[in-house]
Symmetry: none
Subunit: 401 residues, 2 copies
């Protein structure tokens, strides 16, 4: 098993440029005999596959369906079992909150309880997003900090919000302050380790103060918090691999994960065309680019087979633009499969191609699941992708003498 120490010791800086194109939810399953990729007319990807070395990449391990957090950590070369991004942190990243190491985040609900402290509606009747925003303002203005810990409350949709605790000495390992069901009493959070004792105290004080502030409100009179999690201590890509990385993504969660591993997140627009333009504009300034394309996953989640086919065909149109930039190493793969048949992420491996000067090309002439099966990369865990990219960019020294 290669280690982070090994990678640190053999990585070297050079100007070679690497581009990792992540097509969210790339892999699929056959419906009427063909997967979405197999059904797609993607001549540019096919032509590129025929000049590349291809294969299949398991996001985590055979049979394991990943969320976006672990699947992206693996793509970026981190052990996704060792580093975990908790629910609260992922939720915060998903709505675009910038977090730094040590921050503790949680998901919140506005809720209704009766005079005996029994939760009668965990979602406070799904209050409007507008009322939610007003309640968040009320809490934020009333509670700026607790025992030196800064409180930041970020409204979401309907009854949902995300809360971030920022300060010294906050530990992880806390139970949900949420009975999960209506008709049960409100409960405080409880530390599951000594290092979370101070967090427990601050959080429970926050819940009391928030409940006091909400006392006279009609729509909600308390808050429930769950999914407490701390931004993990994670070495940056620069520390591990001596690269200068940038991320181009439209959706906040992907920007957030990229920021967590030390990438610069570049401002871009709303579509692939904007993302490619951003890539072109910044191509001189970085040696690693993560370019994220969301649409195929969304159509897969909606069980929209034809929509996913069209989204893949749309990606294909932009491949010549990527090649025009002449990256030294180009990788195209997915973070996980999202088969329309399952309407969700799945465990199936993703097609992958690596295009560089230093590959053994193979017989693959079509960029789809079953063609890539016979590719020269064979079947690899996604965590091997980063070492392979770095090797092809000649950014790894020999290990040992």
């Amino acid at each position: 098993m290669i280690t982070e120490e090994l990678m640190k010791s053999i990585s070297v800086k050079n100007p070679a440029k690497m581009l990792m194109l992540v097509i969210d939810g790339l892999g699929g399953l056959p419906i009427d005999g063909k997967t979405e990729l197999e059904q797609s007319h993607i001549p540019n990807l096919d032509k590129l596959a025929s000049k590349s070395v291809c294969g299949l990449a398991d996001p985590i391990s055979p049979g394991i369906t990943p969320g976006s957090g672990p699947s992206h950590l693996a793509l970026f070369g981190y052990d996704p079992i060792n580093y975990q991004i908790g629910r609260g942190v992922l939720e915060a990243l998903g709505i675009g909150i910038q977090l730094t190491e040590g921050d503790l985040a949680a998901r919140g609900n506005f809720a209704k309880m009766d005079e005996k402290g029994i939760i009668v509606d965990r979602r406070a009747g799904r209050i409007s997003t507008k009322i939610n925003k007003a309640l968040c303002d009320l809490l934020q203005n009333g509670i700026e900090e607790i025992e030196g810990v800064k409180i930041t409350i970020n409204p979401g949709k309907e009854h949902r919000f995300v809360i971030v605790f920022t300060g010294e000495g906050l530990g992880d390992g806390l139970t949900d302050a949420d009975p999960q069901k209506d008709g049960k009493p409100r409960i405080p959070t409880s530390a599951t380790s000594d290092s979370a004792k101070f967090s427990e105290r601050v959080i429970n004080l926050f819940i009391e103060e928030a409940t006091q502030l909400l006392k006279s409100q009609d729509s909600a009179n308390t808050v429930l918090l769950r999914g407490f999690s701390q931004v993990p201590k994670i070495p940056t890509l620069t520390e591990l691999f001596k690269i200068h990385p940038a991320a181009i993504a439209v959706y906040p969660m992907y920007k957030g994960i990229a920021r967590l591993v030390g990438m610069d997140v570049l401002n871009t627009g709303e579509g692939i065309r904007d993302e490619i333009k951003t890539l072109r504009n910044f191509f001189d300034q970085y040696d690693f680019f993560y370019l994220h394309i969301k649409d195929p996953d969304m159509f897969g989640e909606d069980a929209n087979f034809d929509g996913k086919v069209r989204a893949l065909e749309k990606v294909d149109e932009f491949i010549p633009d990527l090649l025009d930039l002449e990256p030294d190493v180009l990788v195209i793969t997915g973070d996980h499969s999202t088969p329309s048949l399952l309407k969700s992420h799945s465990w199936h491996p993703n097609p992958i191609l690596i295009f560089s000067k230093f590959i053994r090309t193979d017989s693959v002439e079509r960029f789809d699941e079953r063609s890539c099966l016979l590719g020269g990369l064979g079947r690899i865990p996604a965590t091997d992708i980063m070492p392979l990219m770095l090797a092809n960019a000649l950014k790894l020294k020999k290990y040992g003498a």
Copy 2:
């Protein structure tokens, strides 16, 4: 993940004979569409491949380019991340010094310093090998031991030597006693762990005594030492697998690594023909043979594509001689790829074939990188080779009931 304990517990002794032919730098990359192997006329290897089970073996892990130390440890069944052979030890092995467990070795330079202790020439004007030898004799005669630690000084070429410290209580983890650049003061070594404190003391005393002895010399007046490393504690192949192994190699480094893992190193001549003769002469006396062939790697390092092709064709001529010996298990593979295109070791996997009575043959009919991709072994880490050889020799019992 299989462990050494598991292998110890299931290995059994029997008379079956195993031969591992390691063609150094076997794998390549295509130039004008073909790799060196693909360009080679190797009818004997092709015929053997068609009767064998084939595949591709990653020396360490995808993307990682190994030196000869880790790549051979992996071939012999050792975890090459867990066991590391340091620079000093490898240098010592490379010039044929026999080392035993606990020995501490380092690379040395004769150097020139001014009266203030500033190193003015780290290589002492690249003194002749003859003067080097005289200076080594001077030091060796003057310093036999320090605080019970035996000192052995071995001249190399020009200003270089290798020093070995032999004694009780020598620990590893020492910084270089070498400023690495001219114009900087001479520096002592410094222990990076408590267990290396005694080594630090002995080494720094040696440097002082050597500098005293060199005081009146014109060509060099001090020594610089770097790459301190200790022979790793490593179980022998006999301890792990109950085999009686022998090595046949021309170059000292490969003999040295083989000796480290407990092989008998057989005297042989300068070429493949001599090595095969040695194999034949000793075939009755051992049950495992490691046969190392160097030439393809050297041509690869020289970017000599045609030379590597010819070297591979030369190996092919001797395949019938190996088969005449009727080994029960024959493995042919490389320690790492050395593509002429890269002029160096590389991370690409090597073709491998296993020939025995107990294999599932596959459709591979050509012994090259792209043909072996479709072989029955698939893509395996090199550490799986030894268990597969032992299994095919029926030297492994069932694991569990």
